[in-house]
């Protein structure tokens, strides 16, 4: 049975419509105009317990609005939503104790105090006995590689340390459903990798359900077997990342290193030339002809090295959003 279920979910915002300049300001002052913006429209999906799902979309696509509706922070304009058997916007204690939402790095930790002070508050709020909360803090701190940082004022922590401490605070009550909005945003590559491996570990160890939005495709490819794609407020893909890649990228990328540079016309019969830089060539070859063409390339040309890969997922999705060819 699904632990997250959205049916025909929609959210419309009323926003001020003001022209620029002094005249626009005066007109807006005496005759305030507003227009309706449909941030999310008719979104339906279901997530099973323990699933790790990526939520993709360009800025303003409706990801965060959807997350806010799923957590009950905002009321949907239309449709229904159910999370952990509860209607989120009713904000029952039974619901709030089962979910968490992480948005950015400056959230629930008290800025001027060490994270341990905020963790004490969270433990009391969620009714976690002191001994159990100490055990959980140790366990999560160990998973997140946090030590003395928990005793330093939050304002003195690096961005990565702060994010990890925020995660610890958000997960202390061991929620069954995690909504993570850009948890690795702004972190360096090492910190991103640590947060990523922690999330995978947490999902495995506690069977938690995770819905993750991220602009870093490495997060999505490393963690999410399933993705939801949203564009201009509408969901247009719900399925495996692999299928999405195959569906949207019918070609695979072949990288060649040659003995000597060759002209682009030489490669026309093998596939589409993506780039030629001296002795290095990148070709796009349709998946169904890949074996045959790679065999020909190796037989026909003086190849020093050859590798085959999928084009980066961010390129695929970027092209997709750019094209607008979504259905």
């Amino acid at each position: 049975m699904a632990i997250v279920r959205a049916q025909g979910l929609g959210k419309t915002y009323r926003v001020a419509d003001k022209q620029p300049g002094l005249a626009g300001t005066l007109r807006h002052f005496v005759n305030r105009r507003e227009r309706l913006i449909a941030a999310v429209q008719d979104v339906s999906f279901a997530i099973e317990p323990g699933e790790f799902v990526g939520f993709l979309g360009a800025n303003g696509a409706g990801k965060t609005t959807t997350l806010k509706m799923l957590t009950g922070l905002i009321h949907p304009t239309s449709g229904t939503v159910e999370v952990a058997g509860c209607v989120p916007h009713r904000r029952q204690a039974a619901f709030l104790g089962q979910i968490t939402l992480v948005m950015g790095q400056k959230q629930q930790l008290i800025w001027d105090l060490p994270p341990l002070d905020s963790l004490r508050v969270n433990a009391a709020v969620y009714g976690i006995p002191p001994a159990e909360s100490r055990r959980r803090i140790d366990e999560l701190a160990d998973m997140l590689e946090l030590g003395d940082e928990l005793r330093r004022p939050v304002r003195k922590l690096s961005l990565g340390q702060r994010m990890k401490a925020e995660l610890l605070a958000a997960l202390l009550h061991r929620p069954a459903v995690l909504f993570l909005d850009e948890p690795t945003l702004g972190l360096d590559v090492n910190a991103q990798a640590r947060v990523r491996s922690f999330l995978a570990d947490y999902n495995r160890r506690f069977g938690a359900t995770v819905l993750l939005t991220s602009h870093y495709m490495a997060d999505i490819t490393a963690l999410c077997p399933r993705v939801l794609l949203i564009h201009e407020g509408r969901l247009f893909y719900d399925g495996s990342l692999e299928t999405l890649t195959q569906r949207l990228a019918p070609c695979r990328e072949v990288r060649l290193e040659l003995h000597a540079p060759l002209g682009a016309d030489v490669f026309a019969s093998y596939g589409d030339v993506e780039a030629i830089e001296g002795r290095e060539v990148r070709l796009l070859i349709p998946r169904e002809r890949l074996t045959e063409q790679v065999g020909r390339l190796l037989a026909d040309l003086a190849v020093v090295d050859l590798s085959v890969s999928d084009p980066p997922i961010e390129d695929i999705i970027g092209r997709l959003f750019h094209r607008g060819a979504l259905a």
């Binding site: 915002y13 965060t64 806010k68 957590t71 009950g72 922070l73 905002i74 009321h75 916007h89 904000r91 204690a93 709030l96 104790g97 979910i99 968490t100 939402l101 948005m103 950015g104 400056k106 959230q107 629930q108 008290i110 001027d112 105090l113 002070d117 905020s118 004490r120 508050v121 969270n122 433990a123 009391a124 709020v125 969620y126 009714g127 958000a170």
Partner: protein, 270 residues
């Protein structure tokens, strides 16, 4: 099924203890700022200087000593009834900090109540020092209030704080609809200043104004607790009943606006 009452009380006690202790630790980080706030609350002393200079009390049945004790008491009461929830809430709303708090199974108001009480505890030593300094400069005004007056004044001050907090928190709900709702509080500060007894004891006001004032909640926020502390005669039961009536009026409005506000909440900045 709800847990037994004893368990719920134990849970509430634990939450109160950790909220108060963490907020107290947080306020201590800002002790210098709190000293400045305490110092900025010396308006009653300025008014004492002004009224004493024109001997306003004499003609209306208040001796200079009574006037001094009243304004000192008003200063103390004011220090423990200062409410700033609207400004914090407005900032939390705009910066997105409200969202994680709203997702925790604890009514948001208790965080702000704990912050105010902790700030008062941080303020206490500085207030005591200022009171000591006052008596050093004006030893004739020194008096020992009776234990009953002190206890009653403490109760009245606590009730005044609760009423002022409830009133401002009710106005704070406008933050759900407006990004600059604190302008309302600034507007409300004028009648508060004039009718609460901060600029003069209400006993010195013309009868018509005084009668009108007691139909508003403001005199119960400074004048009444200050007069109790200063040893003046106060209709205690009537005053507490008036505070309870105002609270009974404001509480349902507050709850209604809170529910409506949550429906309107757009989780800005998050």
């Amino acid at each position: 099924m709800r847990p037994p009452l004893a368990q719920r009380l134990g849970h509430a006690r634990r939450i109160a203890a950790v909220l108060l202790s963490s907020q107290y630790a947080y306020m201590l980080e800002y002790r210098a700022e709190i000293v400045l706030w305490a110092l900025s609350g010396v308006l009653p002393f300025i008014m004492l200087g002004l009224w004493s200079a024109v001997d306003a009390g004499g003609g209306l049945g208040m001796s200079s000593l009574q006037l001094a004790r009243y304004f000192l008491s008003a200063f103390v009461v004011r220090q423990f009834t200062i409410v700033w929830v609207m400004y914090t809430f407005e900032e939390d709303n705009l910066t997105g900090r409200l969202s994680p708090y709203l997702l925790q199974p604890l009514p948001l108001v208790w965080r702000y109540v704990a912050a105010h009480l902790s700030e008062q505890a941080t303020r206490l030593p500085f207030v005591a020092m200022l009171v000591g300094l006052f008596f050093l400069l004006y030893p004739a005004a020194f008096w020992w209030p009776s234990l009953a007056s002190v206890l009653l004044a403490m109760l009245a001050t606590l009730a005044a704080f609760a009423l002022r907090f409830l009133m401002q928190f009710t106005l704070t709900m406008v933050c759900f609809w407006s990004e600059k709702a604190s302008a309302l509080e600034r507007l409300l500060y004028l009648p508060y200043l004039y009718l609460s007894g901060l600029v003069a004891p209400l006993a010195l006001y013309p009868e018509g104004v005084r009668n009108f004032a007691f139909w508003t909640p403001f005199p119960y926020m400074v004048d009444v607790p200050a007069r109790i502390l200063a040893g003046e005669t106060v209709p205690v039961l009537q005053s507490f009943a008036a505070m309870a009536a105002w609270a009974a009026l404001l509480l349902p409005i507050n709850l209604l606006l809170w529910r409506r506000g949550l429906r309107h909440y757009s989780a800005m900045g998050a």
